[in-house]
């Protein structure tokens, strides 16, 4: 899976590594901005109130 990604990337090794780092940064940003808050809103949090 990842080897296919590595092969699909163009250029010499340093460029591929740079592209991978950029890709990871974009992915992480998307996760933090949209995906994680969405998952968070769908999961149940420990309840902190007392109720009947």
């Amino acid at each position: 899976m990842y080897i296919a990604l590595w092969r699909a990337l163009p250029g010499p090794v340093w460029l591929r590594i740079l592209l991978l780092v950029l890709l990871a940064a974009v992915l992480l940003t998307a996760l933090v901005l949209w995906v994680f808050p969405l998952i968070d809103s769908l999961t149940v949090q420990p309840d902190v109130t007392v109720e009947e």
């Binding site: 949090q45 309840d47 109130t49 007392v50």
Partner: protein, 264 residues
């Protein structure tokens, strides 16, 4: 005899590579899923917790600044009450009803951090507790700050700013301050109690005594226990000590926290 020996290893190798690829892809998928879950937990319990904590603190500072400005624009004299802090100021001023989800007070607990200050909003729904700018909710059925009876609050132990994360570190005699537009109310921490989630007795006017009329002014903080679990509730009680009208300035113990807002 040489033919089968050259044929077989090649075929085996080809088959082995194919099987390895399939296993490899699944393996990589699982590793990716694991990393994503760890990232999410790190985000939820650490990164987002800090982000929420900071924005809740800033929200509380905003409120303090607003009250200071409102007070300065009013005609009331900015001087210590006659006789200084020792004077008997009588019963504290108590806020009237507040709109749901509106922030109306700040909670200041020096034991939980020298700059610990969190806004308190009306209601204990998720719109308050899971809010980046609120986080701590007031049980609507309970008294207001300084009021006769029980001023009961709820907040998260972990994540969402975790306002009550270190609530178990409170020591008997610690100060718990509540700031409103009228001034500061000082409560003294009295003790902890652990109850079941259904233990609504803790937010009664006289905790654990249904039907008894209140003769004391209390504060009650409720949150979950143990960490990351809903199995129990940890309850912190405080008893009203004194109040400081806004005209006289903040109590000396929290002057640093309070003046950070006034300085802006």
């Amino acid at each position: 005899m040489s033919e089968p020996t050259t044929e077989r290893p090649r075929a085996l190798r080809r088959r082995a590579r194919k099987r390895l690829n399939l296993v490899g892809i699944f393996g990589e998928l699982f590793i990716t899923a694991g990393v994503l879950i760890l990232l999410f937990l790190g985000w939820q319990l650490w990164f987002n917790d800090i982000v929420f904590g900071n924005s809740q603190r800033n929200s509380a500072e905003e409120l303090s600044t607003q009250w200071e400005q409102d007070f300065e624009q009013s005609d009331e004299p900015t001087e210590a009450a006659p006789g200084g802090a020792e004077a008997d100021l009588g019963d504290p001023v108590v806020l009237g009803d507040v709109a749901e989800n509106a922030k109306f007070a700040n909670l200041i607990i020096p034991r939980l951090g020298s700059d610990y200050k969190r806004p308190v909003a009306e209601g204990v729904g998720n719109s308050v507790l899971n809010n980046a700018n609120l986080g701590t909710g007031h049980y609507e059925s309970s008294a207001m700050p300084g009021g006769m009876g029980n001023f009961a609050l709820a907040s998260h132990r972990t994540a969402y700013g975790g306002s009550f994360h270190n609530i178990h570190e409170l020591i008997v005699g610690d100060s718990i301050f509540v700031e409103t537009e009228d001034g500061w109310y000082k409560y003294i921490f009295r003790g902890l109690e652990y109850v079941k989630p259904s233990g609504v007795g803790v937010i009664l006017p006289v905790p654990q005594q249904p039907g008894v009329e209140a003769t004391e002014r209390l504060i009650t903080l409720t949150t979950c226990n143990p960490f990351l679990s809903s199995a129990e509730r940890i309850i912190a009680y405080g008893v009203y000590d004194s109040w400081y009208p806004r005209a006289g300035g903040p109590p000396a113990e929290i002057a640093g926290v309070a003046s950070a807002a006034a300085a802006r």
